[in-house]
Amino acid sequence: MARKPLEGIRVVDFCWVWAGPAATELLAYLGAEVIRVESQDHLCGTRRRPPRRNAPPPDINCSTTFNCLNLGKRSITVNLTQPQGIELIKRLVKVSDVVSDNYAGGMMERFGLAYRDLQEVKSDIIVISMSGWGAYGPERDYRAYDPVFAGLSGFYDMTGYPDRAPGKVGSFGRCDLSCGNAFTLAILAALIHRAKTGEGQFIDVSQWEVMNCNMGDAYMDYFMNQRNRTRVGNRDDHMAPHNCYCCQGEDKWVSIAIATEEEWRSLCHAIGRPELADDPRFADAQSRRRNQEELDRLLSEWTAERTHYEVATALQQVGVAAFPSLNRRELYEDEHLAQRGAFVEIDHPEAGRHTFLAPPWKLSSTPAEIATHAPLLGQDNEYVFLELLGMSMEEFAILVGDGIVY
């Protein structure tokens, strides 16, 4: 069995709700031992999150959202309002490599678990804190969920139809997960730095800033031209046709993007309208952009008679970038993704068997994998306190009795 990249790395994880758990989940996929610090009185919001509107809240171990965002992790329950609880955490930090949180407003400081406190316990500890606005600045205490910082970055203003309000994206929490990648990248960089220098450090991730980085070229346009880029639907500055076209079936669409004259000619032939290739209205990209509404109408006539996959197959055969706009169930049923093993089934002792997405990278010699199901609340108390910290049964029993481990 090949060594996994983060084998032997232990993470004390205070992350909760959406963004933080999604991030530390990636560390678990890469082989780190991620120990979530939870408690009966301060349950992660996702443990009670109903799957959809008007559905009853699930049992705390059976929430699909929680169980999807915490794969491969462990869970301990510690009462952080008691000094003994904090002491317990410090003992755990002493044998760990990374401490992570995504609280706004100095929560870790109030617990007495700020970077400087943890440094005293373990001098080379890596501490990462992620929040909407970041760890310093005038609005550092402000709170944000995914759509809040997504809106701050200009992303929503850039999404949607030009004649409508800014568009929220349809996938709940996708910007949180985007930040999860940035968070994981920062930890990997800090681990490499520590391996070379022996130094730990504090990492401050502002989710607003992560999103700004993802809109980088739009900011460059502002700095160059004082131009404010805003939403343009599916349109592009250079390419035309460049849109989604209606296909057979309910709410079925195919995206088509033409980048070169060769592709344009191929498209005209593929849709049985070779004369369009010589039509002066569509003679070059600029003319096509000028007349793109007419172009879209002509293309839709052809796509409407076919399924989205039929259009994609026919156009890809002649070298034209076309692909269906797929919903989530269609993605699950997609033959290509199935062949690549994009989905995996995981058994959970209380929630049963569920299908999840496999890790997003294929590493040839150290494949990332989902090692275990998401933890039951407090399932690893004995492992962590007895085995890792070498606590006696008596001491453990007292901590449980006193409501410190609970």
């Binding site: 139809y161 996938s171 490499i192 991730v205 800033e209 919903n327």
Partner: protein, 407 residues
């Protein structure tokens, strides 16, 4: 101050447009020495802009300038045996190769992973392609539009629950080129994990990143919920429809607000001065407010929101611990006090594009700061430095390589 985390790591990049170059930029900003190999005609991003005053110029594309900071740039044509041999020499002295050619291309050039690992067993090779290296769609072409839609992100966008007529219209891609950057970050995570491991094992490996999967992965809770509990949702229905959450028009634009939880509702009422209507029993619980959302609650909230600015609502409600924020336009963000204090946008000079601000980076490190030390390279700017000083070509040889179109 210590060295940056990746100082001493050498990265070779053979990639264009956004995802591959952004992946390598993230490594460069962390301190790696990234050598960007461009074909003699240059990265396609050089043609795309935005350009100052909209005048196309290969050295002034904002997209290229942003995605290629901190790199060395060389030109190399892989059309000849000699060009490919030079590429191999560059691989020999690199820890990481990031490339984005269509599947099979590197093998056809005699530069596939199996060949390159013989030259350098420590090499980490990361390939970023639209649909990955295997599977029936591996040879499909896809631009950002196709990937945004082909990954599920586009189909549910824009999410507009209170305007059902949206279903008549086409779904739209996500704004800007966001997904392309996401794919670059996803690839950088896998690459750094392999680099960290190689510090202990001295072994490299091959990493296959499919952009479709990278973007699909950003929706993993939604996908799991769809498969576990329900049907696929669309632009007006979602699994996570919280009551009283969404885009609210106000005096000078929009705010995104979430008044779904009890304490958030009470913060709002407090901020509004507890209007008389709020005392009514029918607004007393989350469930009741949710049922009355469109007909009764919204008509009472919206006029009040419309009389207040985004900043008034932001500060008034955040001080009452309610998560919400303005929908900023791109042009507003650099002027916010918070971004200024955090020095998020930093200025840098470029010989052709002049002095410009750039977004700095996705994380702030206490001991190994990310920094922009060098602007994006001019086309072939570092040919002499890389071919001459590092590979040892003399000036005559360099002129010959130039004359024969190899560099």
């Amino acid at each position: 101050m210590s060295d940056r985390p990746l100082s001493g790591t050498r990265v070779l990049e053979y990639a264009q447009f956004v995802s591959g170059p952004y992946c390598a930029k993230l490594l460069a900003d962390l301190g790696a020495e990234v050598t960007k190999v461009e074909p003699p005609q240059g990265d396609v991003a050089r043609k795309r802009g935005p350009f100052p005053d909209d005048v196309p110029h290969p050295e002034r594309s904002g997209l290229f300038l942003y995605a290629n900071t901190n790199k060395l740039g060389i030109t190399l044509s892989l059309d000849s045996d000699e060009g490919r041999e030079i590429f191999k020499r560059l691989v020999e002295r690199s820890d990481i190769l990031v490339e984005d050619t269509p599947p099979g291309t590197m093998e056809e050039l005699g530069l596939g992973y199996e060949t390159l690992r013989q030259l350098n067993p420590r090499l980490i090779m990361t390939s970023i392609t639209p649909f990955g290296q295997s599977g029936p769609h591996r040879n499909y072409k896809a631009h950002y539009l196709n990937l945004s839609h082909g990954s599920g992100l586009g189909h549910a966008t824009p999410y507009t629950p209170l305007e059902p007529d949206i279903m008549e219209r086409e779904p739209v891609r996500e704004g800007g080129l966001i997904g392309e950057y996401d794919c670059g970050t996803t690839a950088a995570v896998a690459t750094l994990s392999a680099l960290y491991l190689a510090m202990f094992t001295e072994e490299g490996q091959y990493i296959d990143v499919s952009k479709q999967e990278a973007l699909l992965h950003l929706q993993r809770p939604e996908v799991a919920i769809c498969l576990a509990d329900g049907e696929s949702t669309n632009r007006v229905e979602t699994e996570h429809l919280d009551a009283l959450s969404g885009m609210y028009p106000c005096k000078d634009g929009y705010v995104y607000a979430m008044f779904s939880e009890d304490h958030h509702w009470h913060s709002l009422m407090d901020f509004m001065g507890y209007p008389d209507w709020a005392q009514d029993e029918k607004f007393s619980t989350v469930e009741r407010r949710r049922q009355l959302e469109v007909e009764e609650t919204h008509p009472l909230l919206k006029p009040w929101l419309a009389e207040h600015t985004r900043e008034e609502i932001l500060h008034g409600l955040q001080k009452r611990r309610t998560p919400l924020g303005p929908i900023y336009r791109i042009e507003e963000v650099p002027h916010t006090e918070h971004m200024k204090v955090r020095e998020f946008f930093v200025e840098m000079d470029h010989p052709e594009a002049g002095r410009l601000s750039y977004p700095s980076g996705t994380a702030k490190f206490s001991h190994s700061p990310v920094s922009l030390q060098r602007p994006a390279p001019l086309l072939g700017q570092h040919n002499e430095e890389v071919y001459g000083k590092r590979l040892g070509y003399g000036s005559e040889e360099l002129s010959r390589l130039k004359d024969t179109g190899i560099i």
